[in-house]
Symmetry: C2
Subunit: 341 residues, 2 copies
DNA sequence: GTTTAAAATGTTATCGGTAACTCTAACCTA
DNA sequence: TAGGTTAGAGTTACCGATAACATTTTAAAC
């Protein structure tokens, strides 16, 4: 590999002069600058980022850790984060934890040992706490996306899960639905808890009964095994008229099971969910959703992160951004007012 | 930051001894090993990967550069690559070039300057050549995924684009379609060229006429502006009975335009495409596709890459893996045999 | 109780950069 | 013209780790 010393030798200057040319620091005569630059091109010089990071104690690299690289919510979020990072002169690297604490832990190790300047994290859940504490301990600035973790104070970009879910349920109630079930992510994930709360509050506000059997706790991450959903449906004394899915992945899984059973959406069962479907939103059955501003999650989160990095200790109190979730009515909900059950 | 020197001091040994404990090299008495380990835990030591990479001249980190992080083909591929990397004790970092040569160039710069041990690249297209030459020049092992680039010899994992596309067209012909149009990615992308070839060959083999106006060259990457597709459809003297889309993104874009025009699939127009839709495959209109083994692209590509890295110079001739593409018949194609046009 | 080999640990140089300081002319200035 | 600036370099030390070699300690052998 070509180093600044090789360049220095060929250009008849010291290594320091080469370094100055690269970084545009100090005073260099135009003549030597041109000569050094020419030699660098000739020799195809590429600076060694590791050496540089070592002495500078900064990498100009940020990290985005998401939990499901196949979910359009996160990939859109990633695009937002990427744009904001590049815009501010940072490199961005991605990692995918797959909703697994072990993988998350591995990535945290990578993050610490490569000394990136900051991290955007969508945590796997509440048990991510030790991972975040590790980041904090090592003074790596981080911003949490989409999910809060009790026990850690930090900058946050969240969606309005409770309110969003309430909107979904109220939309269903308005259309005459009285038996509504919910399938949700793990209760160790803050957004899942809030969505459940929104669900319950909406029922209570409308004096509707609530049966524990109507709630099914699954996982926000994709699973090949749908038998849990099957068992849940089988276990209910009577089928609900509508199902609320805690996120888009779950909605698809439910859809898949319903299809297998020959249950049409929305004719025989209505289905709504949290999160939109990216480019697939327009597909039949045109699922009615509460859409989040995925791109903004990434973009704003990145801005918070970069501000923290810039101001370091004097960055003031933690910020919390809550992005509204908007109901997008499509065609997955039947209007059953006046219809006998 | 805690360094091995801090550890060394507290444990009353030399830095070298600490290094030996970390790497399990050399001979260390059990007593000191235990003591050093305890101190490392106490002080929350994390090795500095930059320092290590600098002296070892290797990073144990690989890089995956894809062109569209929102496309299920690439995210599934990414999962495969990730699994294979972890399986072999490597870290994997991702980058997203967005089908842009500029971004790709940026990432190549990052790859070179961070001295990763190898790269898996889905190139933006033929003009990626200089980027790949740069990697070659700096002796960074790489494997190309999904797309070939004329002018560069290397390991490859490709899909059988020509044959796959021929299957699509023949499926249409079998069902009575005689006027078939195609929307494709940029002709500077090898897979797009092969898919077009497959399309044309199938027409020729079946003695079907071919009209240049039936072919529309767009982009494999997602676009918000669909006016090109609109103009294309408007420009045709008569609408085709079926459209072949060069990839899944294009199929969705066509679908969106058709929907806007009130044209139902498959009743008024049939639609098929290359690449499947991941979790969205089961959605209406159940698009008939030629599915690729996306996960295998990543997994096998990673294996090729790691083998190259292990054997370095003695790795033998370039390997080329061509993965078959399988026709998955769903419900986006009308059978119009015997129907007057 | 030496000698000697093996085991355990330490010293020094180095990876490729940059910060901080030093040096040397050329140029001002009174 | 002596003294002070300043532009344009160079020197040296260090970032945090490891390789290669050097040294000390331990234990076995005679």
């Amino acid at each position: 590999m070509v180093t600044i010393y090789d360049i220095a030798e060929r250009a008849n200057v010291s290594a320091m002069t080469v370094s100055r040319v690269i970084n545009n620091t100090g005073k260099i005569s135009e003549k030597t600058r041109a000569r050094v630059k020419r030699v660098m091109e000739e020799m195809n010089y590429v600076p060694n980022q590791n050496a540089r990071s070592l002495v500078l104690q900064e990498t100009r690299t940020l990290f985005l850790l998401i939990t499901d690289i196949t979910n359009p919510f996160y990939t859109t979020l990633a695009r937002g984060a990427e744009d904001a990072a590049i815009h501010n002169g940072y490199r961005l690297l991605f990692g995918n934890s797959d909703e697994s604490l072990d993988k998350e832990s591995e990535y945290v190790q990578t993050i610490l040992s490569t000394r990136v300047d900051g991290v955007l994290v969508a945590p796997a859940g509440d048990p991510s706490l030790p991972h975040l504490e590790k980041l904090r301990q090592h003074k790596v600035p981080f911003v949490l996306l989409d999910r809060e973790v009790p026990g850690i104070e930090c900058d946050l970009v969240l969606g309005d899960s409770k309110e969003g879910c309430r909107k979904l349920v109220e939309h269903l109630i308005e259309r005459g639905h009285r038996k509504i079930a919910m399938i949700n992510g793990s209760s160790s994930v803050s957004s899942a808890r809030l969505r459940l709360q929104g669900f319950m509050e909406a029922l209570k506000l409308n004096d509707m009964p609530f049966d524990l059997a109507d709630i099914h706790e699954a996982s926000f991450g994709p699973r090949s095994d749908l038998s849990g959903i099957e068992a849940w449906l089988d276990g209910m004394p009577e089928l609900p008229s509508a199902i609320v899915a805690g996120n888009n992945v779950l909605a698809l899984e439910v859809l898949s099971v319903l299809r297998k059973r020959g249950l049409a959406v929305p004719d025989q069962l209505s289905l709504v969910c949290f999160d939109d479907f990216g480019p697939y939103a327009e597909y039949d059955p045109f699922i009615t959703v509460v859409a989040q501003q995925a791109y903004q999650f990434g973009y704003l989160g990145m801005q918070l992160l970069i501000e923290r990095i810039r101001k370091r200790e004097q960055a003031g109190p933690w910020k919390k951004i809550v992005l509204p979730a908007e109901l997008v009515v499509r065609r997955s909900v039947a209007d059953i007012r006046g219809t006998p059950t």
